[in-house]
């Protein structure tokens, strides 16, 4: 079954929630984004963010973590119901990613995905390009990140 047949367009799917501890923010930043406002709570007070906050790349990668968690459960559910799960492939990239608000130490971000379109690739029979809108929303209901992803799906 195709992803779009299981999850119709414009239906927002809740994927799960990630807690951003100070330790996880600092651990990511030490490896990938060592700027003071991601490493040091005191220094962060004097930045435009006014507090220790996660690298935008950590906020974005955490969507992937939630999606996979959601998908492994969904795949099991579908198999249990006798439905063949969609064969999802790699992503060639994404567009229009916006970090709308900082994710602060202690925040909980709930991630969503919404199917927008699926088109068959003329150049690769049996292959489809899915476009999804992806979002992260903090515990106050504020959207912190959005992006449009492209993902391959196979027959």
């Amino acid at each position: 079954m195709k992803f779009i047949d299981l999850y119709p367009t414009d239906v927002r799917l809740e994927l799960g929630t990630i807690h951003f501890s100070a330790a996880s923010i600092i651990r990511y930043a030490e490896k990938f984004d060592p700027q003071s406002f991601h490493l040091d709570a005191e220094a962060a007070k004097n930045s435009v963010f006014e507090g220790l906050c996660a690298s935008g790349w950590q906020t974005s990668a955490s969507w992937m973590k939630c999606f996979l968690n959601f998908w492994s459960k969904e795949a099991r559910r579908l198999v249990a119901q006798g439905i063949e799960p969609p064969k999802l492939g790699p992503s060639p990239g994404f567009r229009n990613l916006k970090w709308l608000r900082p994710v602060y130490a202690g925040d909980d971000v709930t991630y969503f995905t919404t199917m927008k379109a699926s088109r068959a690739l003329a150049s690769r029979p049996g292959t489809y390009m899915n476009t999804t809108l992806n979002e992260g929303v903090n515990q106050h209901g504020d959207v912190v990140v959005t992006f449009e992803s492209n993902d391959l799906e196979f027959d």
Binding site: G56, K65, F94, W99
Partner: protein, 152 residues
């Protein structure tokens, strides 16, 4: 500080890397953020269309970020990333690859809404040791336009 907002003129470029991508780093990142088989084991990677143990695209973005911090962000009045117009993962990044590349300034303007701040649009290209482009990213970042606003 080595670079100011005024140094980010359109057409100017900054070198990125080199960065050796190890199997251990690929697996460590994937275990936390993207635990799919082709990011976790050589065998599963070889069996996938990626052709080997491959870094998560989100890991490549993290490594790109780190290369920009080491090259110029830590030597500039960078304040925040605003967003990413596009990221294209053009080819798999495999264990043992060495990434390097270039950041090129596309646009530079003073912020209309935030006094003392400027916005630059940057294009990043990362290639592997064979000269193949593996990742392209275009993003927008905010920099302080003077030392005063940088420390405010």
């Amino acid at each position: 500080m080595k670079y100011g907002f005024e140094d980010f003129t359109p057409g100017r470029s900054f070198p990125l890397g080199p960065k050796l991508v190890t199997a251990e780093e690929i697996i460590e990142f994937a275990e936390e953020f993207d635990p799919q088989p082709m990011h976790l084991s050589e065998e599963a990677g070889k069996a996938s269309i990626l052709g080997g143990l491959a870094a998560s695209g989100w890991h490549t973005c993290g490594m790109l970020m780190r290369m920009t911090v080491d090259s110029y962000i830590s030597h500039s009045p960078s304040q925040a990333g605003l967003g990413v117009d596009l990221v294209e993962w053009k080819k798999p990044v495999l264990a043992g690859d060495t990434l390097s590349g270039t950041t090129t300034v596309i646009e530079q303007r003073v912020s209309k809404t935030r006094p003392g701040m400027g916005v630059v649009k940057l294009r990043h290209e990362l290639q592997n040791q064979r000269g193949e482009i593996v990742c392209i990213a275009e993003l927008n970042a905010m920099l302080a336009t003077s030392a005063e606003t940088a420390s405010a």
